[in-house]
Symmetry: none
Subunit: 192 residues, 4 copies
């Protein structure tokens, strides 16, 4: 009975169950196969959902992935920037945890897949930022450091974060053997 609030159009309503099944399946397949071996058919099968249901609600593979990202289905718990007052130490710690994250066996290719997804859709890029808490968390921490006089007042924060994250991304794409001090060096490249 559509008793309350407004007109509630006729017919069945979107199945939340189906929606979650799709996003869960996407997360599972993304982790095991990577972005480019992900297929709509595969997601539908894995989710026990019809393809049409996916196409009805999402416009493309990348849209599904973007949604899965928002709902935190794609990433393990992501690191947050600590705040000890020492901006350099904090950034190094954070960067180190990122480096450790992708160094874990299962997470190999995770960044690569996320970047590949971001290449396909600007939306994913944006949401990736949000999901990683980069814009929110990191920027905030940087701005605090600026306010504390640890960094110059006219530092272009957006670009600073981009350089930091971009450096990490390029490092990930290279798939070299993990350098032990890469986190420290990367931060030092920006804070010299």
């Amino acid at each position: 009975m559509p008793a309350s609030a407004g007109v509630r159009r006729r017919g069945a309503v979107r199945s939340e169950e189906a929606r979650m099944a799709v996003l869960d399946a996407t997360g599972r397949l993304f982790a095991t196969q990577g972005y480019d071996h992900l297929t709509i058919e595969g997601i539908a099968a894995q989710a026990g959902v019809s393809k049409q249901t996916i196409y009805r609600w999402w416009s493309s593979k990348s849209a599904v992935v973007a949604d899965a990202l928002i709902e935190d289905k794609l990433l393990p718990d992501h690191p947050v920037v600590p705040d000890t007052g020492d901006i350099r130490a904090d950034l190094i710690a954070w960067m180190q945890s990122l480096v450790d994250l992708v160094a874990e066996p299962g997470n190999d290719g995770l960044v690569r897949s996320l970047v590949a997804a971001a290449c396909e859709s600007p939306d994913i890029g944006t949401r990736l930022n949000d999901a990683l808490g980069i814009t929110a968390t990191v920027s905030t921490r940087i701005e605090a450091a600026v306010a504390a006089g640890q960094l110059p007042a006219d530092l272009p924060v957006t670009e600073f974060v981009r350089a930091l994250v971009g450096g990490f991304v390029l490092y990930s794409l290279e798939r070299t053997e993990p350098a032990p001090d890469v986190a420290e060096r990367l931060v030092r490249a920006l804070l010299h």
Copy 2:
């Protein structure tokens, strides 16, 4: 007598003509359609070559692209870092020309495609660096600046370059409206 070293095995020899036709076609299609709409069949047709000839010599789409990259078929003439003695001005000028490059109508999506390709194959990532002359040219310029005392002696050059280029890459992936001073801001984020 086969001129130089070695026995020059029997049988017809690889057709340089076919090889170049493939790489040229790859360059042409990459520019117009981007990496992910590139197909082996399309390349073969465009090159007037049989699919088998491609599969005989390359193992995958990304291998073809990597080769095309080496042979300079994918990129328009890429900017070099000027050397006026002023490292900050030089980097800004170089970064600005990169920004201008991707701002041109035809080059929309070029970086996106290259990054997508790099996500698929570590080889492409490596060769991308080489092709862009990044490692060579930029690093050299940075090292000169370090030697000249304009930059700290212990600057981690590799990471510095990665941050610079990574920042540019992330900017490109965001497809925001081109900010006029993004080049200057990005360099300033690193040189403050």
Copy 3:
């Protein structure tokens, strides 16, 4: 309520239109190109149907041909055995019309193609018999002759028909210049 027996599973139903288009196209191409130059891709193109639709319903080229045979798409109207009471005259007349049939310009190679198809698939052989009405029509006529005392009571009818048709098949495969009295001679070889 699904009218008759059983549950009529969910999902779209097989397109009769596509099915007929495939069989029609098969008939057309079989006539013009013969069995061995027949290709699944050719059929699909000619029928305006995707290859997958063919592979969904038929397991091989010969399966399609067998089906086309049942649906009478491969053969022009085939002769029937007359019944004048004179078994010898009737068989000669029938055999003569078979000989005339393959002597027509367009039908050159028709028998060859059918036999080639039968070599590939036992199914086609069986259905070929059915389609030609050989088992049905000829056997019936022979049995009538046996009943009328024109042929011995213990005549092995199946083998008699096989010998008759087999003789015709071998004659067709030889592609010699058409002998004018071959029909009469063949029947006389069996009824002496």
Copy 4:
């Protein structure tokens, strides 16, 4: 020294070794894979011969097969028609040995393959007759029976043999379970 007969042109001479290797390989592959899975490349590889050598001397797969047939590479020792004076018994014995031949495990599909080959090339049909000794042996035996008054004087021998062999061929194509008395019945269908 090209002493005798004519001008013996310059250059190397055809390698008998290669020729035999090809025909042997053809026989081996024909037996294991059947006519339609036989490939020129397969023969070349199996024979340790280059494709060009095959194409230099034979015009097609069927030409190779026809040659192999002549050189007795395709068939095991084939039965001959006995001559006991009783034409009916002799034909039954011969037909029975044919039936037994194709009933052997390895020879399954042998007739099918030969017939398929004959469909492709009239040449093969002719040579098949020769190789089987059908025209020679069987016809001779039939003619002897005619001369002995066991068969009518005006019997069309060619057609009689065709009917006999054709009946056997159709029986083989049907791949039914082997009927024990099929040889006897087939002969009886012709000699009633």
